[in-house]
Symmetry: D2
Subunit: 124 residues, 4 copies
């Protein structure tokens, strides 16, 4: 029996369609708002049907010297064909931080489970 | 006793900081992805503290001839000062629709309750 | 064009399967934890399939003298047949309040939109 | 830099207040509804204040022979003192499964990050 953390998969988002790609500036100013965009399937689209879709992406930030990641935001993709409406697994948030650290994205496919990715960001 | 729908407030987002503003194209092509951006406090910023903040924005779409609105997405703003991280009440989603209709935004302040706004969008 | 609040439907939960029923004590003690249970389809079951299901129930509480309802909890029902797992639209939460008021339940069906119900509770 | 899965903490829920305890029958009948209750702080209560609280618990189920865990439900605890309302970090869901496997709970404290626990359940 694995614990839930061990089931979280990762990889190169350019080759594995489930891995969330995170777009954010490399450097930001302390306390100045910037955008974080997370997308599943940017290069190789993931299915978006009632039977098989990305349900949500969570974004966390862990400052360099912090023990724990803090959840910044959670975005749920709710429409997958109802009334011919499709919400793509892509979200942009606007955030302020005051220390360098790691942005994590955690996403969930209703068939293929949990996937993650992360990038470094520095505060100047 | 009011029902919950009657407690939902609205107004001019340029004058009332709780009202979500919705940015989307006036016209989109059938089945072609476009961006919907919803923001609380774009003109007059809303507080973003542990004590008082915007918790979430939900986006719905109701095609012209449909009886019910369909939820497109739900975005939660989770960080309000933890480790000096602040998530602003702003979200962009990417959506496909195939009929003209109404985009609704519904948002929630932990002190001032539920607020809404809507815009029309046409499919050509 | 209706606003989103006007699209929220209600009715007698014994006859209309979408209306959430709320179970809670009539009287509770100030600051003492009690259970709120909200169910969609207790009497007439609602479908629970990928194509048609209840997505979430939110519970709010509005103290008698308060202007706005406060969200107590949000429960999402995520599995509707994936790996033969079905989550029924039923949730129990444990809450403390210190004034009499109204408990509201707001729920969402991916086909039939938003539904609500409410009950009074008194604090002694 | 750790990935997000490596930041998920666990332990004995009787001694560590963040670890979610999961209550469910040891054996259930195939396709027959049963209750899963997940609680943070059942033995040693966790703080429930605006500054420090449990934000959510997610429940997953992974059938024995399945590669990935499926999310059953997500419960958010939204009120931490607003209008003197407190939602305790406890949730009950009602679920049907048709194979033996592992129930996982994943929870999040706004100060101390992600925590998990799991139990086995068999279908007869
Ligand atoms: Fe997938
Ligand atoms: Fe406010
Ligand atoms: Fe329905
Ligand atoms: Fe904690």
């Amino acid at each position: 029996m694995k614990n839930i953390g061990e089931t979280i998969q990762s990889g190169d988002w350019k080759g594995e369609k489930h891995v969330p790609v995170i777009h954010a500036p490399e450097k930001v100013k302390k306390g100045e708002a910037f955008e974080i965009k997370a997308i599943v399937g940017e290069k190789i689209p993931h299915p978006n049907t009632l039977e098989h879709h990305i349900c949500w992406i969570k974004i966390f930030f862990q400052p360099k010297d912090a023990k724990f990641p803090i959840e910044i935001g959670n975005s749920e993709f709710s429409a997958h064909g109802e009334s011919e409406i499709y919400n793509e697994p892509s979200v942009s948030l606007t955030t302020k931080i005051d220390k360098s650290g790691t942005i994590h994205a955690l996403s969930y496919c209703n068939i293929h489970g949990l996937w993650e990715n992360s990038i470094e960001i520095s505060v100047e």
